[in-house]
Each structure stands twice: as structure tokens, then as C-alpha cells.
Symmetry: C2
Subunit: 303 residues, 2 copies
């Protein structure tokens, strides 16, 4: 049995021990693979998350253990104490079932074929209720459209909210979106995904050309009053990724204080009490302002 005891640095760096650890261990003859929960800390809280297998290697059992238990096994190994782990799992891979993206729109009055997309993903890991990953992201993006609608505002271009399905284990909602809207992607002006929690916003992360960055910077200055006006690099999200890459669409995410995000996400602690209504309202305001103005610009956002 292989145990990966890798301290959390960034999610991108650490998650690969969970996603690829099983087949790598299998390749060396392991009968099972355990990974230290991918998060900065916990209170004996195990994390779940996707595991990938290659076509050719054996599919061996793989599970996450708590940070505390990984450290215990490490200490035992360091001092040469033999350890036995009795592994009982009842996880099963069920056959695929149909699920769907949820889509809503405010049609643009002038150029309805041009689209600004905002959204989050509607699936979550079942150990918690998925409040942070990504119930909050769903709420703040649909609320942005609801508020624009309630205010009787209608921008030049179409505003679309998409709640993607199957982000967590396959991105099939994301690829289905890309394929279904294949011909419309050239008219996707901007895509924004909220999937880093809905804590206090500081501004936006943006990927696009310098002229586009200048424009969204000017729009973000409208949010100086709630201190959410900074534009940082590397906007995006897993679900908008396939579409963004297919058509080089400017992409964006809210830059929030996500220091607690990876403590909560994919754990039984991803529950409603982690959501702060005031912070949610700030997220909604920031997304509503950004999405509306981008959709209502006289000229398209630069690509």
C-alpha cells in the first residue's frame, strides 16, 4: 500500500497526488493507494475528490486519509515502526446517468447573438452539501442576472447564466456546452466562472488581451466603493475552460479571499454555515456590474 504524505502548497501542485497517485502506485505493484487530504489543514477531516486511472494500469482502491493520520503514518515510518492499515471501502462507480446544465438568459436588445456568460457548477461531492464548492458560485451568478432583470435593465448583448453539471469528475457539462454552442463561441464576448468560494471579493482575475484588460479595469473601478476593483492575472474556471480554449474567449473569475477554500471544499464541512450573506451580496454586486457593463459596451470586448 502506498501512502502519499504531501503537505499542501497550492491545489494545482498537491492535487496530482490524488488524481494520478493510484495508477502510479499500481505501476509499482501497489494494491492500494492512500493520499493525505488535499488541503492546508483540517480537524481530522478527510477530503474527497476525483481519482484518475489509466486505461492500461490496474484500478487499485484509492482513498484520502486525514492530515493527522498521514502524519501519524509518517512518524511511524520515520522511526521504523511497522504499520498495518486495514482498508474497507464501499465506494462504487455507478453507470452514467443523464444530467444537464441549467441555463438562463436575458436576451440582448441590440445584438442578442453576442453573449456574456457567467456561472458556476451545480454538482458537488456528497460528503458535504456543496455550499462553497460550488453552491455559492451558482447563487452569486444567477443572482446577478436576477437583480439586473429585477431592475428592468436589458443590455445590448445577451447575458447568460450557466450552471454546469459534472465539473467534479469529468467536465462533461463543460464540454457539452462547448460542443452545443460551437458556432456561437466566436460571439462569446466574455465568460466568468465563480468557483473559488464566495468570500470577500477583492476584484477580478482576467485572462485576455491588454486592451480587454484596460476595459475591464475601467469597469471594475465602478466597484471601488466595495473595495473590489483590482484586476489580477489568470481568470478562468474549469467549466468555461473548454469553450475559452476553443475560441480564445476572454475569461474572468472573481478574486476572493480564498484562504479557507481548500480547507472546506470536498469535505463534510462544506456546509451552509460557511456562507456569509454580506459577502454573497458583495459577490453578486461585483458580478452584476461587470457582466452588465461588458454586455452593454458599444464595442465588443477586445479578444
Amino acid at each position: 500500500m502506498v501512502v502519499y504524505n504531501v503537505p499542501f502548497t497550492t491545489y494545482a501542485q498537491t492535487v496530482r497526488y490524488r488524481t494520478t497517485g493510484a495508477w502510479r502506485a499500481a505501476r509499482h505493484g501497489a494494491v492500494a493507494s492512500l493520499v493525505r487530504s488535499v488541503g492546508p489543514r483540517g480537524a481530522r477531516t478527510p477530503h474527497t475528490g476525483a481519482v484518475n486511472y489509466t486505461e492500461t494500469d490496474s484500478r487499485i482502491p484509492a482513498a484520502a486519509i486525514t492530515v493527522e493520520d498521514a502524519e501519524l503514518l509518517q512518524r511511524m515510518q520515520d522511526r521504523g515502526t511497522p504499520g498495518w492499515v486495514h482498508l474497507e471501502m464501499n465506494a462504487r462507480l455507478l453507470p452514467d446517468a443523464e444530467s444537464a446544465n441549467v441555463v438562463g438568459e436575458i436576451l440582448g436588445w441590440e445584438r442578442p447573438e453576442e453573449v456574456v456568460v457567467v456561472g458556476g457548477h451545480i454538482d458537488s461531492w456528497d460528503v458535504g452539501t456543496g455550499s462553497t464548492d460550488d453552491g455559492g458560485g451558482c447563487i452569486v451568478t444567477w443572482e446577478a442576472l436576477r437583480i439586473i432583470n429585477q431592475l428592468g435593465l436589458r443590455p445590448r448583448r445577451t447575458l447568460r447564466v450557466v450552471l454546469w453539471t459534472n465539473e467534479e469528475n469529468g467536465l462533461r457539462g463543460a464540454t457539452a456546452y462547448r460542443d452545443r454552442y460551437d458556432k456561437q463561441l466566436a460571439d462569446h464576448i466574455m465568460m466568468l466562472e465563480s468557483d473559488s468560494g464566495v468570500s470577500r471579493p477583492r476584484g477580478f482575475l482576467f485572462t485576455g488581451n491588454p486592451r480587454g484588460r484596460e476595459t475591464v479595469g475601467a469597469i471594475a473601478s465602478l466597484l471601488r466603493g466595495i473595495d473590489a476593483h483590482r484586476i489580477g492575472p489568470n481568470g478562468g474556471g474549469a467549466d468555461i475552460g473548454p469553450s475559452v480554449r476553443a475560441a480564445n474567449i476572454p475569461s474572468m473569475s472573481l478574486d476572493v479571499d480564498s484562504s479557507n477554500y481548500f480547507t472546506i471544499h470536498h469535505t463534510p464541512a462544506d456546509t451552509m454555515d460557511k456562507i456569509d450573506p454580506t459577502e454573497v451580496a458583495q459577490n453578486v454586486a461585483a458580478i452584476a456590474v461587470m457582466a452588465y457593463v461588458v454586455a452593454d459596451l458599444p464595442d465588443r470586448l477586445g479578444r
Copy 2:
């Protein structure tokens, strides 16, 4: 079934819902009592801890639930959703078994009958390993004596380390100590307990008269080099309490940064990884200096 959903403020304020909630609920006809875990937060981590019953009221089942679950039940009640809780418990109260305080001494060369006591408690809640509550306190106090001994130092008075038993559910070690040393308590110069975690020390908490406070303040100034020289009010500890009260003994505890203490204590997360060796060493140094100098003073510490 009564659910106490009381947000954590201080331990003293919040713990009484756990210790007295069951009989108070029983008095109103409740069949069981649930209490929100007594701690500032958690990651779906239930806390355990003592529950008291009166002689006359019914002993109804009592359990702690996680902060998250308490908040869920609160939200359900606030919106009028009926809730059913299915309670299964296998906790049992076993017959008393013999246990013992663990005592070690460095005999004073001049006045061996006068004693300075340091210590922690050796019992813990079984959900974790009791590393923080109170394994750390045991280690830093016995290490203080071990180091003094290793340095070949022998103070005027006796230094005694006591690892008390049964702090968590009855203080029988504490009362047995008081009763056994009944006649010697008048010659107890000072008692120090470490039971607030062994994180970075800032100084000492002290209960005693102004002259004693002045003396320990002067001793603490020796610890300026590790920034542990401040003297605050309200020194003490559960185990030294009965002896301190019986003979009005000056009492002390290390003042440590205990902001995480109540997140960890009495939970499955009270494990070795929470202990920092450098901070432990600072605790040991501070206790060793304070205990040795108090035991070696030409005059007794003022009472």
C-alpha cells in the same frame, strides 16, 4: 429532544450548556439533550467533554453535535421545518477503576519540606490522543525538571512535578493530592499548571499577592530573550485548584497563544501534529526558569 445551539464565546461561558444542559432539559421533560460542540469552530468535528447530572433529575442521553449540524437544525427551526433526529449512542459509564497521579521530585538541599509544584494532567478524552489536552502540559513540566536535573542544579526547596489523573471527569487526582499533602500545603510555595496548550508562550498568568507578583515579574524578566516575560492576572488550573484554595497558595500558568486550543481540545483532532517542537522548547525553558528561581529564592514567595 432539546438542542442547545450556543455560539462559542469563552469556554467558561459556553461549557455550562454541555455540563448542565442534560439535567436542565430533563427537568422540562426532555428525553435527550444535544449541545453544539463547545469550541470556536471545526470542520464537521464533534467535541466531547464532561456532562453532569443532578442526583434527583433523570439521567437522559446527552451528546455533542458539530457546529455545522447545530446550525442546520437552527435554520430548520427558524423556517418552521419539522426535524427528526435519530439518536444512537453506545457510550457507557464504566465502574470506577484505580488510577494514580504520577509524581517526581528534585529534593531541595536547604528546605526540602518546602515545595514548588509544576504539572499537567495525564488523562484525556479518547477521541483524540490528548496531545494538546494535556499531553503537552505533562511534557513541558516534567521536561523542566529533567533539564534542571541534567544541568546538575539543585534549588534550596523541593521541585515537584505532578501529572494529575482524572482531570476530565471528576478531579479526583486533584482532590487526592490536596488530601494526601494536607499538612504540607502550608509549605507549598507556588503551584503552576500547564493546561492551555503548549503554543508560543508570552509570559505567565499569576494569582497571588502584590509582593509575590513583583517577585515573579522580576524572575520573568529573565525570559525577555524569548519574549515570555509578561505577567497577567488569573493564573491557575483545574488540578491545582483544590490545593490552591485549601491553603491560599500562589498559583500560576503559562500564558500561551491559545487561540486554537478550543478548536482542538476534546476532539479527534487533538493529535501529535498540533505540537510544535520549538514552541514546546520555549514552554520548557520558561517553566524551568520560573520554577527553579522560585524554589531557590532566599525568602519564600509572598502569600
